[in-house]
Symmetry: C2
Subunit: 251 residues, 2 copies
Amino acid sequence: MQFITHTSTVEGAIQRIDFVLGADASGALWRPDGGTEPVALLLVALGGGQHVDTPGVAARAHRFAEHGYAVAALNNPGQGGRPQTDADISAIAAIRNPAATLQQRGTAIENYNAVVAPRALPEWAALLDVLAARYPEIAHKPIGFYGVSLGAVIGLHLLAAEPRITAARLGLIGGEHLLQAAQRIRVPVEFVMQWDDELISRESSLRLFDALGSTEKSLHASPGGHTDVPVHERDSALRFFDRTLRDAGAS
Amino acid sequence: MQFITHTSTVEGAIQRIDFVLGADASGALWRPDGGTEPVALLLVALGGGQHVDTPGVAARAHRFAEHGYAVAALNNPGQGGRPQTDADISAIAAIRNPAATLQQRGTAIENYNAVVAPRALPEWAALLDVLAARYPEIAHKPIGFYGVSLGAVIGLHLLAAEPRITAARLGLIGGEHLLQAAQRIRVPVEFVMQWDDELISRESSLRLFDALGSTEKSLHASPGGHTDVPVHERDSALRFFDRTLRDAGAS
């Protein structure tokens, strides 16, 4: 695969590099500017319907970079402005169908996520390889993974297959079909759930946390729906990576 | 009630005052030394069998004080060197009975906690009054509560009755008889549970978290048994109080 740098911009103390990997896997890399070596690399997989330029996504990446991390994010196949197949278009229409019940919507999302995640996996593996070749000072640092919702579905499969990733913040997912991947995970995990998630049943989230094979894992549950994760959980993610990657890299 | 200062010692930048409240309610107050006003007051209720000088208890209080908090802890009635009734002695013997099953031990603890907590409540109310009279520069700051296990049973009842307390870190408890008190709580709560707690069933902890009436509440679950709360949860407690008390006091 190729790694085509489109633009390199500097925002404050952060350098941002927009790239396309292979045919159309667009994404962005944020890193501390000025030759500062990052303390670790965070791979950020997006939720359904997000784009690397969705304000919440870009702001999160920027904040991680301000704290010394390099951050690499990929738009998901068929999303974030990437070409869509007919199957993508009809699956997304099913998710957005205004006549669908919440339960039908949840099922449509779960089904589509299960299709998108396997398409994303080789792109993440390729991204790690390209980063290792092109930015060894980044890729040879400890590597963490951040993804909730669709991003966590990708994460569960990626973590089970990719030994270079040594810590993960996941959440906002459930489902019987994910339990097997969860059981194979061994790295520290912080798992967020929303206590009143309208798309994921409480029982399903708790079962997924229970299934995680990691000896170090934390469940953080907060009241509210799928998109109501409280602000203080953002800070918790940073502390989780500080504890599992920064301190690990320093020792 | 009287407040008798036994000793005032300085440990590093922390002043410690040992006191007896009323007839025999022994406890300790830690505060930043040198006239520094604390950012908030933390009330620390102890777990079953603990003493204010149990290393974990004193170290936690000391660390809170190093971060700018005043910390007041009370030995529980019948514990921590305080006089015991015949009922105390036989209840503690039932808890320590080497022939008891884990389930019997859990029931014995739950029963005893339900008796001890109501005895502790008036002491905590009196302590707040005495602190307000004697150390207004401490008692008029925001007030938080920290207690797990028996300390959390006390906390649930105290919070439901005591509007001066505006944030609480609780956990390691469950039980139908506590749900009603939990429903009355309105302040921010961080609730810790151990996923494999041998004394409290998982379902029982989750139901208690669910019952908490607070709009701002977080559940933190970690693998392991009743006494295996991971070190990083200690730091989380400090950040919780920083968020709910320090920042609240500053604004």
